[in-house]
């Protein structure tokens, strides 16, 4: 196992590697595959935090918990609400900030504020040839050259190993409330969520759990503002039944952590799929898939699907690609976890991987071949 303590050591380790490398932050997101394990935990620590500029810079292996604690101390947070994969994937370890960005992990608030990739301002990484590369910076507006920051976000260590990330953060609001509608069909629930998201009341979470027939709409802000908007939304959605309003902070945190971490599918067996689709298509796609259970987030744009082990891969892929979007299997065995790309896109991706990792040693087999 390699565990470099500095960026220079990281560059040495990759440059002198003779075989495949499996890159791991905290190892909580189960990248799979063979190869010598490279852990980023030695590259740890917050190097700069300016609350007045809403920016933080941290080494990639910094535990997420450390980042969140430092932000909380200043009344700020990571706005994109990254999911914790441990419950769903049965993994152990400590999630790292580098892992969050490398996998572009975003939670329910993504629908309102953007994904992890939207908050990533700058990266330093070591590519597959051992070269140290910097891109972006620590300012919010930066169009100096190509945006390799976006390319690295979500590339899961296939183009390079992050050594440092800088990112934008946001203030933590004073109050939160959730409107809970009950007994809606999937179609009605997604319609209700669309209406809420199409209102000026800044919905920051829009989920539907068919198992419990619960449809959840979250708003955040100052106390007076949350009260006002909760009332306005209640009126707007009156046609969907009476909405209960949850205002307790701890209860809200629990509700949304369960959505974020897909608590409903954590226990038991079965494959877990993550579908990214046009929100209004979601109920139809789900209805067409037999034996599957669904959890809707992002107003329907993100569907978590629990399928019987090893079954329905072709049907899931077909339903999603017919509508437009993609499906990734997050839990389950066998090949084909990542969505196949059309030939022209696949050629561009292969070209980029060949350029950034000419020897093909970084997480080979991950994200397609």
């Amino acid at each position: 196992m390699m565990r470099p303590d500095t960026e220079a050591e990281l560059a040495d380790a990759i440059g002198s590697a003779t075989g495949p490398i499996r890159v791991e932050g905290g190892g909580t997101r189960a990248t799979g595959g063979g190869g010598a394990v490279l852990r980023t935990g030695g590259l740890s620590g917050i190097t700069l935090y300016e609350p007045g500029a809403l920016t933080m810079v941290a080494r990639a292996g910094t535990p997420l918990a450390e980042v969140e604690a430092a932000l909380a101390a200043e009344g700020q947070r990571l706005p994109f609400e990254p999911m914790d994969h441990r419950g769903l994937l049965g993994t152990k370890g400590e999630p790292t900030i580098g892992g969050v960005f490398a996998a572009n992990v975003s939670g329910p608030r993504r629908i309102a504020v953007g994904a992890a990739r939207d908050f990533l301002l700058g990266v330093r990484f070591v590519d597959g040839a051992g070269r140290i590369v910097a891109n972006g910076g620590r300012v919010m507006k930066n169009v100096t050259g190509y945006d390799l920051v976006k390319l690295m976000a979500g590339s899961r260590g296939t183009l390079g190993v992050l050594s440092e990330v800088s990112f934008k953060v946001l203030p933590r609001p004073a109050a939160v409330a959730t409107l809970r509608l009950s007994g809606l069909s999937d179609v009605d629930a997604v319609t209700a969520l669309a209406r809420a998201l199409g209102s000026p009341w800044e919905v920051s979470g829009a989920a539907h759990a068919p198992d419990r027939a619960a449809t959840l709409i979250r708003i955040e802000g100052s106390e007076a503002s949350v009260r006002y908007r909760a009332g306005a939304l209640q009126k707007l959605l009156a046609g969907f039944g009476a909405a209960e309003i949850v205002t307790d902070g701890a209860e809200n945190a629990g509700l949304w952590a369960a959505i974020r971490d897909v608590a409903a599918f954590q226990a038991g067996s079965g494959d877990v799929w993550r579908l990214s689709v046009k929100p209004s298509d979601a109920p139809r796609i789900v209805a067409a898939l037999p034996e599957c259970r669904a959890l809707y987030d992002w107003g329907g744009g993100l569907v978590w699907l629990l399928a019987p082990e090893g079954k329905h891969m072709a049907a899931i892929r077909e339903a999603v690609s017919a509508a437009g979007g993609h499906a990734t299997r997050l839990r389950g065995d066998g090949p084909g976890a990542y969505p196949p790309q059309p030939p022209a896109i696949a050629a561009l991706e292969a070209g980029l991987r060949a350029r950034f990792d000419p020897r093909g040693i970084l997480n080979p087999g991950l994200m397609g071949d």
Binding site: G52, V143, G198, P200
Partner: protein, 479 residues
């Protein structure tokens, strides 16, 4: 500023090229008469001009693909052009280039309120995207100052920002998908009505690539429900440092305004003379705007005013009506025009960490003395994106060169304090040769490797973004 000399072999093939292009496009879509191609000799960076070999104005993705196939086949460089409002020379052609303008591609293809997106042809102007949805209570958030004229294609190429980025982000944060035609004519779809990438984030890579990776012909854009209301407050200070500290305190306090705009005294005076907005004569002025219902606005402005009072403002002006709001914005919106009344100016676009504002402003004013040129500062303070306007006299020999040298020093300062060369205008030709101040050779190599993959022959908008010396081996090898 240097451009590679036109390739005589390409110039010699012009008649054949025009014939093939004319055969592929509808009548009137190919311009080769030198009297007419001159209209495309520059963009909004008017200091540099060069008429292209030909101009094509295709009407569809298929026509764009046909043009690119022909140019690829004949090894002719192509310069994509939105509305030609680039301040960085992003659409400046070389003499052996075909300018591909998307001005005829302006249709709205799909509007979907349930899923909150609009799909448009990329030549549509920024403001007319909002125009297509505002009657239904929606808007498209990125709002560059040139939004009346600038095209979505150019916004995507430069990853344009605007005054309201602090809350809504820039183009890349509001772009869901594109139809991208590669240089060899291959048509690809990146993204769509869904939210994130299934593989590598090629959409994020293409946005801001300055027309060097492909030509965007259609775009899926996120639209947002319009807030119930918005109201600005004007705050004057007798020192730029204090104004900068106030910005930082507002952000730290947890209120998130949609815009925090900053103007310094030279700029305030110019605006007063030009637009009579009734601004106080002070050292620095902030315009802070918040959104929401009346009560929400009152609450947020209450917090902001409380913070502002702690910094001893010389002026605090709350807007009580739409007219008063318009008056507060009037001067800021006419700032560029006002400075233009005083003389020729160069507009810079560096970004700095907000905490460095006081230091950078002080240093700019010192440099202004050293170079003997006046500067006005007007910028988006909330996100640190500065727009120093350096005044010079185009008719005075050597003045433009002094101005460019001064500008380069300011941009280097931005990088030195932890910022960057350009926040929203792009590199183009203007900042191309400063890139080495921000990036190492390996950093630049990694970016150029991306272009190698998308455009192996380096035919799309060559001689931009990267220092000429750095890109030369690739451009030469491709010939």
């Amino acid at each position: 500023m240097e451009m590679p000399p036109p390739d005589p072999a390409i110039l010699a093939r012009q008649p054949e090229l025009v014939k093939r292009l004319s055969g592929a496009l509808s009548a009137g879509a190919v311009i080769s008469d030198p009297a007419e191609t001159r209209a495309y000799e520059c963009d909004a960076l008017t200091a540099y001009r060069c008429a292209p070999l030909a101009v094509v104005l295709p009407s569809s993705t298929q026509e764009v693909a046909a043009v690119l196939r022909i140019c690829h086949d004949m090894r002719v460089p192509v310069v994509p052009r939105g509305s030609g409002t680039s301040l960085a020379g992003g659409a400046l052609p070389g003499g052996d280039c075909v300018v591909l303008g998307v001005a005829r591609m302006t249709a709205v293809l799909e509007t979907d309120y349930a899923n909150r997106f609009i799909r448009v042809q990329a030549g549509r102007t920024n403001l007319s995207v909002t125009g297509a949805v505002e009657a239904d209570g929606f808007f498209y958030a990125p709002d560059p100052s040139s939004q009346l004229a600038c095209a979505i294609a150019g916004n995507i190429a430069m990853n344009s920002g605007g005054a309201h980025c602090l809350k809504y982000g820039v183009t890349t944060n509001n772009l869901l998908g594109v139809t991208l035609v590669l240089m060899d004519g291959t048509v690809t779809e990146l993204g769509g009505a869904h939210l994130d990438a299934g593989g590598l984030d090629l959409l994020g890579l293409v946005c801001g690539s300055e027309g060097q990776l492909g030509v965007v012909t259609e775009a899926t854009l996120r639209i947002l429900p319009r807030p119930e209301g918005a109201r600005p407050v004007l705050i004057g200070f007798d020192s730029s440092e204090v104004a900068g500290a106030c910005v930082s305190d507002i952000i730290k306090a947890g209120v998130l305004p949609v815009a925090i705009e900053f103007m310094d005294r030279p700029c305030i005076r110019a605006c007063e003379a030009f637009a009579s907005a009734g601004y106080p004569d002070c050292e620095a002025l902030l315009i802070v705007e918040v959104e929401g219902s009346e009560a929400e606005i009152d609450e947020q402005l209450g917090v902001i005013l409380q913070i502002a009072r702690r910094h001893d403002p010389v002026e605090l002006r709350e807007s009580g009506s739409e007219e008063e709001s318009a008056a507060i914005w009037l001067g800021r919106k006419s700032a560029f025009g006002a400075m233009g009344q005083i003389g020729d100016y160069m507009c810079l676009d560096g970004t700095i960490p907000v905490s460095e504002l006081p230091r950078v402003l002080r240093r700019i004013s010192e440099m202004s003395e050293e170079f003997g040129l006046r500067v006005g500062n007007v910028f988006h303070a909330g996100d640190g994106n500065m727009h120093p306007l350096i005044l010079y006299d185009a008719n005075k020999p050597g003045d433009l060169e002094t101005c460019e040298a001064f500008g380069a020093e300011i941009l280097k300062l931005c990088v030195e304090v932890g910022g960057c060369l350009t926040g929203e205008h792009g590199v183009g030709v203007e900042k191309r040769d400063l890139m080495a101040h921000q990036y190492t050779p390996d950093d630049l190599e990694a970016q150029m490797a991306v272009k190698d993959v998308f455009d192996p022959k380096w035919l799309l908008n060559p001689a931009k973004v990267f220092p000429l010396a750095a890109s030369e081996p690739r451009r030469v090898a491709a010939e």
